[in-house]
Symmetry: C2
Subunit: 357 residues, 2 copies
């Protein structure tokens, strides 16, 4: 498949992690955009706001006072979608009206005591602390729960309701739809092809160098061949790693460094604090810890909504909701832009004066 | 499952049309919202704007001039995601890099010559003309294409880039992901239970009257048991109907009337022109016209994003994208609000003076 073909003709691409297809129609970027224009992210966030429940020393909804933390800070979500003690709904009276018990726990983790900082602006050493906490949480919650979802919604555009840098951790008594799909697809691939799917994929992408955004000794970031969001990326270890806590100390330092580079590149793209939802997928935990899970490869997905500029996003609406996801430019067209050399944005300079590059 | 259980305890519900689960956590509506606030829809849209390419007598991107149409108006999308003549990408060199040909046609249909009107404000006779055109299009494009997706993105919040009331019709040479899933699930249900899934479902909902929003002799609208969007609805015929063109003249009049009632109820909810994406799903066409498709039942999905008010929407982000869809209140909690008696909104009164109720 040549780039001159794909940039000219719409076609379908297969997503082997979701067993589904995406419609790629490069020529559609030519249409003028007269639709919704997004508010760019706020730039004047105060470093400390005593009324923000995520700040050090603030009082949260449940009356608790946050400690004067100086690194990461973890607490139970005050409005959890999952609680540990929901009773069983009982048996279902009809196949069209099926309910199942859902139990779990929802935590919030602040990355840093300052509200006016984001992961790419933090020092690698500070990011490393976030990484260690992630590993700890998957270890701890994964000892009983089959799935622990770590995710970050960054930016108001992605439904983030608090500007203070933070992520969430939702552990559940069930394997949710998306990891269940990834489980089935990776299992099937290993059975058919004798190798873990994403291990093979990373090797092929590293060799092709067509969709690589950033890489180092231990990690590789690509715009996947089947990306649906314009600047979607997939972060992969080069070594076979089943779960987050399996990462060595060296791999964690290396992850901190590649995350900083990837996220700075994102911010550079449209010179804005780049919104996204991201999250980690590793082999299921709980009782699955005892099972053979060699078909799994740890990875992180980044799903950023922006399409043309800081204020024009891709909408996944009518056709996408009812028929199939569709993208307006090819992964090969966006990868070079995403991979451009790092530059540091003017309005963030003061951070770098404080922290160094 | 009692409503006092479901309104108190999070649980999972099964979506039999998508073979997946939704996490229902009613108690989450209590959390304060400090996130993004949406712009309410513009209220002063001019009835006629000579620079709007969708208006009568306007010049479109390709240089064509629109006729002075006085009812519906159909034309080929000037920036189509699908074109009829894309060459085949050729054979795939690896299972992780699979591409397939995609051919098709994208059309746009204006509902009315005025820009400042929407479907719920149109007369039933005018809506009937839209319905007849839909039937004609499925008949015509469906004679060769296996799937014809009719959809409407209403409101800037749903990525609609032009305020003039219109829908789109994308016909494709392939069965997209969503209808492929609905095909598999409905086929399986008939095989197992000896009846078309949605026929059975409509009967049970009509009897339970717990999630019904509006109904008449031929149609039923419910907030489905497995709804993911807060005020999502499913529009179903009471009779077994495979495809849109099979609707009788009486059923079409009755559809115009129920659409007007449903959409007015939506507008009433937060006293705003209610945004949504909607679309029709019927049995696949093209070569499938010759096959036994009795497992299918025609239906329309309405996916509206609003959650709490005209300006606070539900975000399907981090957890939803990476793990599983999650809703903050139960379908039983929203159905009564959605079903409230019709009232006519003040700022739309002038339309009713023109048109009658
Ligand atoms: O075709 P439009 O109205 O310009 O575009 C809108 O609908 C399309 C089909 O759902 C989407 O792909 C676009 O992202 C959306 O903005
Ligand atoms: O938990 P938050 O940040 O208040 O809420 C945000 O993330 C959740 C998990 O993806 C979503 O369900 C919410 O719609 C979104 O606004």
């Amino acid at each position: 498949l040549t780039n001159s073909y794909t940039a000219k003709h719409q076609h379908l691409r297969y997503n082997p992690l979701r067993d589904s297809w995406v419609l790629v129609s490069a020529h559609r970027m030519k249409r003028p955009w007269k639709g919704q224009v997004e508010k760019p992210p706020e730039e004047n966030i105060p470093r400390h706001d005593p009324n923000n429940p995520l700040c050090p020393l603030s009082t949260r909804a449940n009356g608790e006072v946050n400690p004067e933390y100086d690194s990461t800070f973890l607490f139970d979500n005050d409005f959890p979608a999952l609680q540990p003690d929901a009773p069983d709904p009982g048996s279902n009276y009809h196949p069209l009206f099926q309910a199942k018990a859902a139990r779990g726990i929802c935590k919030v983790m602040c990355f840093h005591p300052w509200s006016d900082i984001t992961l790419p602006l933090m020092q690698p050493g500070e990011i490393r602390k976030v990484i260690d906490k992630w590993a700890e949480l998957i270890e701890e919650l994964g000892s009983t729960y089959p799935w622990v979802q770590i995710f970050e919604n960054r930016g108001a555009m992605m439904g983030c309701s608090n500007p203070h840098p933070h992520c969430q951790i939702w552990a559940s008594s069930f394997l949710p739809n998306e990891p269940a799909l990834a489980e089935r697809c990776q299992r099937e691939y290993l059975r058919k092809h004798g190798e873990a799917m994403l291990l093979r994929y990373a090797r092929m992408e590293a060799q092709a160098q067509e969709r690589v955004v950033v890489e180092n000794e231990h990690w590789l970031v690509v715009v996947p061949y089947w990306a649906t969001w314009p600047f979607q990326t997939l972060l992969l270890p080069r070594r076979h790693v089943l779960r987050f806590p399996d990462l060595t100390s060296q791999e964690r330092d290396s992850l901190a460094s590649i995350m900083k580079r990837l996220l700075t590149k994102y911010d550079n793209l449209f010179e804005v604090s780049f919104p996204y939802s991201m999250g980690w997928h590793g082999a299921p935990t709980g009782t699955h810890l005892e099972e053979d899970m060699n078909h799994w490869q740890l990875h992180a997905h980044y799903y950023p909504p922006l399409l043309r500029s800081a204020t024009v996003r891709k909408f996944m609406v009518g056709y996408e909701m009812l028929a199939q996801e569709q993208r307006d430019l090819t992964p090969e067209q966006v990868s070079p832009a995403a991979a451009e050399p790092l530059k540091i944005m003017d309005h963030y300079d003061y951070h770098f004066e404080q922290y160094g590059p």
